[in-house]
Structures are given as structure tokens and as C-alpha cells.
């Protein structure tokens, strides 16, 4: 069945995905809120940048990140000067790369759920003495719960499934950067189909389960019909 290397790869995958999801929720929430509210004429540019990982081949993304995070790249110089060393081929290198890679999967559901809330609940909150920050925490976040659920699940699941970026940034170091998708690739290369079957089956089941949970829960999203805005 599963070898220690397989289990290590599984554990590492979960660790990377979980860390990435938490970081992305922390970064993605204000970013999505800002994008939702921005009246800037540069908004399409920002939206396009956030969506780039959706269309870019992971190898391209990985290549640029490798150059940026490398010893002579701007990010690499920064991390070196902070005494963190260079990020490629480390756990945190994988996390940073995953954050870029999965960014749209977190930001876009959040943006959509913010848009679905509309202006009206925010106006109501303002007439009930809530400051904008207060409103964000007491009204926006509770009403955007389905969006946060979707964002977390998609962010997590998408990070579990990454391959190209990992290969470029992380390489293939056991227990450090060798995630499940890379391990499966190794097994197939070595014609080790039984092991590949096991790991692939686990990922298949996991992915299906995640989507099943998401669609079951989101079948009954919060009722927003009462708070939608109408233009006077």
C-alpha cells in the first residue's frame, strides 16, 4: 500500500494547502473588498492580474516566480537581506508560489459574494451607526459566508492539485517539497502503477468529496432577496 514517502507527500500536500488557504483568506479578503469597491480606472488591470494564474501555464508562472525568488531576483534579495535565505526549493517557497497560483480561486468567489450583498445592507448598517469597518465585520462577512466557504474550498483544493508550479519552484525533495502530484509523477516514471493508482485514487476521492460538500452546503445559500438594493 502507501509507503512512508507517499505518506510524507500526502502530509506535505495538506500542510502546504492549509497554510496557503489561511494566508490567501487573510490577503484575499481585503484585496477582494478593495477590488469590489474600487472606482479606480486601473481596476480592470488589477482584475486581469488577479485572474492571470487562471490562464497562464503553471510552468510560466513557476518560471517567473523562480527568477523573482532566486538569489538575484527582487524577492530573493529581499528575503536574503531579511535573513530568510532564498525561497525556492523550500516549504515557504512552495507556499508563496501556491498563493500566487491559487489567488484567483479565493479572490473571485469573495468578489462575487460581496457583489451579491449589494449596497443596501451597508446603507442600513450606516443608518444604524455602524462605521465602515464595523459594517465589514458585522454585516459583510456574515452575509458573504457562502463566498468564504467557496473561496476556502477552491483555494485549498486547487493548491492540492498543483503540479507545474511545484516542479519549477520546489523540485522534488522528499518531505520538503515533494507533494502528492509530484510523487504520482515519480511513480509513473518508475512504472510503479500500483502506487500511482493508490495516490491518484486518494486525490480523486478527495476532490470529489470536497466539491460534493461544497455543492451540498451551498444548495441553500443565505437568503439575500430581502436586502438587495433597488435604485430609487
Amino acid at each position: 500500500m502507501l509507503t512512508d514517502a507517499d505518506l510524507g507527500a500526502l502530509w506535505l500536500t495538506l500542510k502546504v494547502s492549509f497554510t496557503t488557504t489561511v494566508l490567501l483568506l487573510l490577503i484575499g479578503t481585503p484585496l477582494a473588498w478593495w477590488l469590489h469597491n474600487s472606482r479606480s480606472r486601473w481596476k480592470p488591470v488589477w482584475n486581469a492580474l488577479v485572474a492571470l494564474p487562471l490562464v497562464l501555464p503553471p510552468t510560466v508562472l513557476g518560471f517567473y516566480l523562480l527568477v523573482m525568488m532566486g538569489p538575484s531576483g527582487p524577492l530573493g534579495k529581499l528575503t536574503t537581506s531579511l535573513g530568510l535565505g532564498v525561497l525556492p526549493f523550500t516549504f515557504w517557497g512552495l507556499v508563496v508560489a501556491s498563493c500566487f497560483y491559487s489567488l484567483p480561486f479565493v479572490v473571485q468567489p469573495l468578489q462575487n459574494s460581496f457583489a451579491a450583498i449589494g449596497q443596501r445592507p451597508l446603507e442600513v448598517a450606516a443608518t444604524l451607526r455602524a462605521s465602515p469597518l464595523d459594517t465589514f465585520f458585522s454585516v459583510v462577512i456574515p452575509l458573504a459566508k457562502p463566498g468564504f466557504l467557496t473561496a476556502s474550498i477552491l483555494g485549498f483544493a486547487h493548491t492540492v492539485g498543483e503540479f507545474g508550479v511545484v516542479l519549477m519552484i520546489g523540485g522534488n525533495i522528499p518531505d520538503k517539497t515533494r507533494v502528492v502530484s509530484v510523487q504520482i509523477y515519480n511513480h509513473v516514471e518508475a512504472l510503479n502503477y500500483t502506487q500511482a493508482h493508490w495516490l491518484s485514487g486518494i486525490l480523486l476521492g478527495f476532490s470529489f468529496l470536497v466539491l460534493l460538500v461544497m455543492y451540498s452546503v451551498l444548495k441553500t445559500p443565505l437568503q439575500l432577496h430581502d436586502v438587495k438594493q433597488e435604485r430609487p
Binding site: R120, R129, D226
Partner: protein, 367 residues
Amino acid sequence: MNSPLQADTAKSIHCRFQLEYDGFKLDVDQQIPGQGITVLFGSSGCGKSTLLRCIAGLEAANTAYLKVNGEVWADSAKNIFQPVWQRPLGYVFQEASLFPHLNVQKNLAFGRKRSRFIRDPATLEQSIELLGIGHLLQRMPDRLSGGERQRVAIARALAVCPQLLLMDEPLAALDLQRKQEILPFLTRMHNELEIPVIYVTHSPQEVTRLADHIVMLEDGKVVAAGTLESVLTRLDSPLADTKQASTVLKGVVNLYEPEYQQLEVVFAGGVLNLPAAEAREVGSEMRLRIYARDVSVALAAPVHSSISNVLPAQIQDMTEGEPGLVVVQLKLGESLLLAHISRKSAARLELKIGMLVLAQIKATSIV
């Protein structure tokens, strides 16, 4: 016209707004009394809701000046703009807009726990009692009827102890039955509340029932403003020559005759008799609505007539109304009344301004 309704600036709301968007222009400079219900009235698209949103601070006008009972809330010339959440107001939207993730009690508490102006802890119970929602406190908003939802929304706005209550067509989204369910609560609110209320509506029924003052808007401009009686009886007001033209008389119950189910009401200008299904307490105040089409003019008292309300009056003014109609403004003691009569009758009776006549009132309704 921009005549102030009230000279006392300490107890009044002075608003001046200029705002332009999508070919619409709002240009208002108006003094609103600092007490009672002022209705912003007009057809849809006239800018009444926009004006209300400007007063709340939900809409930012290019030029804005707003002084409420002595406090400046906005003054674009001095770059003063108090954000909505810092203004001591209550706002009721057309749709109840309750927070769907909070039950009724938490909806009521939302603004209350953030308000700095709550001095009397009993005000929450009072607003719950006033709107009759005590039995709904634990319910979620999606388990309420439309009427209940709107009542909770009104109570939620009152619970923050506002110094000014703004209501944007609070009944417009409800069907007739729900309207009738809420109107008594609003009438009660009118009688018990001491803060000024600005109420937006396009329904003449709500105007006659609730308004103390009217500001009439058309195309973003004020076309008439004043007390309910004065605006309704003005011949140049947009309402005067429509079929809805009517006058509201405020009177006091004098007598109830149960055998005829007849009510006798004294007003400044005479006594009116009207049928009423239920007895009213003698001395209680009431509003009577008299449609201009139900008032006719006679030179001599009819001898054998079913019309029981025939009152002496003087013709104050006359104007051409809809084709074939003359609108006559009658003065009965202190009160004014409008009458729609045919142009032919007016000619036959040789009606002139200043003439003493008899006003025959066919029907009166309680509002």
C-alpha cells in the same frame, strides 16, 4: 417656491441640495419644521427619494447644506460632511432590509448598541410595543410576513433614539392589506412621537392621513410647501384640479348618535355630520377628508334634500380646472374647502369671488 414653513430656526431643518446625474437635476432649498410629519410628495422620479437620501447623507450632493435643529450636518462650502453613521437619524427603507443573518431581537439591537444617544433604556420596549412586534423577537426575518418585516424595520429605526426619522415610502412595497395593517401603527407613531419625521410617498391617502406639512416636488424642484391644509386647498397646487383633489379638516368629536350611527364633528368653520360604524370618544381629534368632487355650491338652502351638511361659505377664489370644470376655493370660518363644479353651473349661478354661498358636502370620510 422656497418660502420657509417656520421661522424658528432652532427647531427646524434647513436643507439646500444641488445634485445632477443622468439628466436629472435636484435643486432644493427648503425649511422643514422641526416637529411633526413632513411628507415629501410627488410622482416617481420627481426626486423625493433622492432628497431624502441627501438628508441622510447616503447621497453626496454637489452643493449641500443641512442644518438640523441647530446642528450643521453638512456644508459643502465649509467642507463639512458628517458621514451617515455619525448622524443621529433613523431611516426606514422601502423594503424592510432586515439583516437576514440576525433574528428580530438582534436586528433591533444592532443600531441600539452602537448609538450614543440612548438615555432611556425603556425606549426599546416602547418601540417594540408601539409597533406590536413583541411576539416576533426570536424569529428570523425570512419567517416574517412583509408587513411584520416593515414593522420591525420601523422599530429598529426608532430603537436608536434618532433625532430625526426618515422614511422612504415605507408602505410602497406592500399590498393593500399590509398597508392597512401598518397605517394604524404609523398614525399612533405620529401621535406619540416627538421627533420630526420626513416621510416620502406618492400616495394621497398616506398624505391626508399622516402629514402635518407637505413639500411637493416636481422634476427635482419644490412646487408647493406648507401645512397640509394650506397646500391641499391652494388652487395652483398640482393636486387641485385632479380627481383626487380634496381637503383635510381637523376636527373634534362632539357627539355620537348610536341610533343613526352618526358622528358630529366640530371644526374651525362649522359642524359636520357623518356616518360612522363605531362610536368615537367625545373630544377626540380626527381628520376628515372631503373630496372636491363631493362639494357643491348653492345660493339658497335646499328644502327637501338628503344632504345633511350645508354650511355657509364665502368664495375665496376660482380657477379653471379640467375641461368643463371650475375649481372653487371656499372659506368656511377659519377653514378652506375646495369644490369642483361644472362651468355651466358656475355661469348659471353667476358665481364670483367674494360671494356668500352655501357649501353642500355630499360625503366625508375619516382618514
